[in-house]
């Protein structure tokens, strides 16, 4: 389908594709098996200018003309994820960790932290989830107590993507528990701050080239000027805004994984022979492939449209963003499972890439809001929208 990409978008797509095919493809199997963090690819992305696609030009990024650059981010993440959904995550998760700064930080904070992230010198990470606060983020227990010109953080964040590899962490903590979600604040915490350490690196099913760790805060003193936006109590708003903005990115990761699996299945079906002919000549296989293609294209349509709407300044896009994330991640799981089916026994083996794609796909239904949480949000918005109309 022709999405009438601009010249710039086309160049972002081509640059990302070239990087993925030439540099990521040869290493993805090894990095997955060994759980190696792709610093070499991050360095390449930095050299190529792909780290700041969603960061405004005035802070060293590539988002120009008032656009938020979400479409640019989406194109890059999709192309990279076609080849490896784990390696693409280093930059995508950095975007997630950067959104609280983009959305809520003061100009001073932006000037201090965004240029290095845009340039790819530093990665960011987003610290919201805790052991007891997953979908129910409001029940977080990490606290931040003001003490003179500092905040003292205590608590543990769990399953933080880019943990220990990133330099810049946006961490959510309760500054006033009595106020519930209105008592939550977001802080920028730099790696190396005393009292801030990392727990064990998780051993995951998929996205194994990405680092997932605990963030541990023990009487960690953070300068008060690192309170995002300079005001307490806005943390939950920043978190929700961040997830609304980042969901097209996760959706693009899911879309890329699905599209990559479709490419592999299609190529394999035209090469594998059974009963004396290519398996692509069997209608049973053709229908699987056709279904995969329809689903991938439908997911792409949703993801691109949300991304473009956000870039053009849409304000009420939480439902659309949730739809794109929900649908693309469900498609990723179905399409990768079908790709393994087309490959048959070979698909189950690690020598072929679809096995890894199926493992990588699963996380997209879970993180940054499970599929069920997306459906909750969609349904709540649907009901609210109709209720508003009746008035």
């Amino acid at each position: 389908m022709n999405y009438f990409l601009t010249d710039e978008e086309q160049m972002i797509l081509e640059t990302s594709r070239e990087l993925a095919v030439k540099k990521v493809k040869p290493i993805r199997e090894h990095y997955d098996a060994e759980g190696i963090f792709p610093w070499d690819i991050v360095k390449e992305m930095s050299n190529l200018g792909l780290c700041g696609l969603y960061i405004p030009e005035e802070y060293g990024g590539m988002a120009a003309g008032g656009s938020k650059g979400i479409m640019q981010l989406v194109l890059c993440v999709e192309e990279m994820s076609k080849i490896c959904g784990g390696i693409s995550l280093a930059m995508a998760a950095s975007a997630l960790g950067t959104f609280p700064i983009l959305l809520g930080a003061t100009d001073e904070q932006k000037k201090k932290y965004l240029p290095d992230i845009a340039e790819g010198k530093k990665l960011a990470a987003f610290g919201l989830t805790e052991a007891g606060a997953g979908s129910d983020a409001g029940s977080m227990r990490t606290t931040a107590v003001k003490k003179g010109g500092k905040y003292v953080l205590n608590g543990t964040k769990q399953w933080i993507t880019n943990g220990s590899e990133a330099e810049t962490y946006t961490v959510f903590a309760m500054t006033d528990k009595a106020k519930g979600t209105r008592g939550c604040s977001c802080f920028i915490v730099e790696k190396g701050t005393p009292g801030f350490t990392f727990g064990k690196k998780e051993n995951k099913m998929g996205i194994r080239a990405s680092a997932t760790t605990e963030l541990i805060f023990q009487d960690c003193e953070v300068p008060a000027e690192n309170l995002v936006g300079g005001r307490e109590g806005l943390g939950f708003i920043h978190a929700v805004g961040t997830l609304n903005h980042s969901r097209p990115g996760v959706a693009a990761q899911a879309l890329g994984i699905a599209a990559g699996a479709l490419d592999e299945a299609l190529a394999y079906s035209r090469q594998r022979e059974q009963f004396g002919t290519k398996i692509s000549s069997f209608q049973a296989v053709q229908h699987i492939l056709a279904n995969m293609a329809v689903e991938v294209e439908a997911a792409r349509g949703l993801v691109y449209n949300v991304a473009r709407a956000v870039d053009k300044g849409a304000t009420d896009f939480a439902k659309d963003s949730a739809m794109a994330k929900y649908y693309a991640s469900e498609v990723a799981m179905r399409v990768t499972t079908n790709a393994v089916q087309v490959f048959g026994g070979y698909g189950y083996m690690k020598e072929y890439p679809v096995e890894k794609m199926m493992r990588d796909a699963k996380i997209t239904q879970i993180y940054e809001g499970t599929s069920q949480i997306q459906l909750n949000e969609i349904a709540a918005k649907l009901i609210k929208e109709q209720a508003m109309k009746k008035k």
């Binding site: 010249d7 160049m11 972002i12 640059t15 030439k22 540099k23 190529l48 200018g49 792909l50």
Partner: protein
């Protein structure tokens, strides 16, 4: 430091077929690419610039369509590109091409001129050395590493079949590079954007003050008498085996002796 890189547009050898009748390449069926070895020359030029400052200018002699190839060099980070294109140059062999490139380099000014070790279509490996000869500049061919370089001299390692030669030369110098020297970078986003807008200037023989009597098919001494695809002889292999490694080795030794490969 003024760095000039000479590149050539060649048929995409991953796609090309040979006409069995004439023994020549079927150029029309293959797409074109930049000669792969020239990518390493550009990369080395860019690294020299990053280290020592200066400019990288990429030059090609060829048809107007070679402009697209030159834009790849701009995308990678070259400062300028020049296409030398003139009907009077058509049919030039390596000798005439080297003359034209030498004149182009003279006009541009140079401290280091880089070439890929050879082009994958003709495989002569003559244009780099001949250009150096026309310029009366020292040349180091088959460079796999630049050990040291400053404004006055260079120490480089040459990849030889039996090891490494280490050569020192004064600048200005002409280098031809092998693929072991580096890993060419991809075109960056900013580079691609600049390349898209960049107008590649076209120079003619007049722009380089070239002598018409030195170039073109008439002034090219190379004569191709015949070209053909060598016939492969199959079925001549013999598998030598024995009960164990020692016996296999004994049998192999006897055979090699029979054939006169060992005394």
């Amino acid at each position: 430091m003024k760095i000039v890189v000479c590149v050539k547009q060649v048929p995409d050898t991953t796609n090309i077929k040979v006409d069995p009748e004439t023994g020549t390449l079927k150029r029309e069926t293959a797409g074109t690419v930049m000669n792969p070895f020239d990518m390493y020359a550009i990369e080395e030029g860019l690294r020299l610039k990053e280290k020592l400052g200066g400019t990288v200018t990429v030059v090609s002699m060829g048809l107007p369509m070679a402009k697209d190839m030159l834009k790849i060099a701009i995308g990678m980070g070259a400062d300028e590109a020049v296409l030398l294109s003139d009907r009077r140059l058509a049919g030039s062999d390596t000798w005439a091409t080297s003359y034209a490139l030498a004149k182009t380099c003279e006009k541009l000014g140079y401290d280091v001129i880089l070439f890929g070790k050879q082009a994958v279509d003709g495989d002569t490996a003559q244009v780099g050395p001949s250009t150096a000869a026309y310029l009366n500049a020292p040349q180091i061919t088959w460079v796999k590493k630049i050990r040291e370089i400053n404004e006055k001299e260079i120490i480089a390692e040459r990849l030889m079949e039996d090891g490494t030669d280490v050569v020192k030369a004064s600048l200005p110098v002409v280098l031809t590079v092998v693929k072991e020297i580096n890993e060419p970078r991809l075109e960056s986003l900013k580079g691609k954007m600049r390349a898209k807008k960049y107008e590649v200037p076209t120079w003619t023989l007049d722009d380089i003050a070239g002598d018409e009597a030195m170039v073109g098919v008439k002034n090219s001494p190379t004569r191709v008498n015949k070209s053909w695809t060598p016939v492969r002889e199959f079925g001549k292999a013999e598998l030598i085996s024995g009960a164990d490694a020692a016996e296999t080795a004994d049998k192999l030794y006897v055979k090699l002796k029979e054939l006169g490969f060992v005394k």
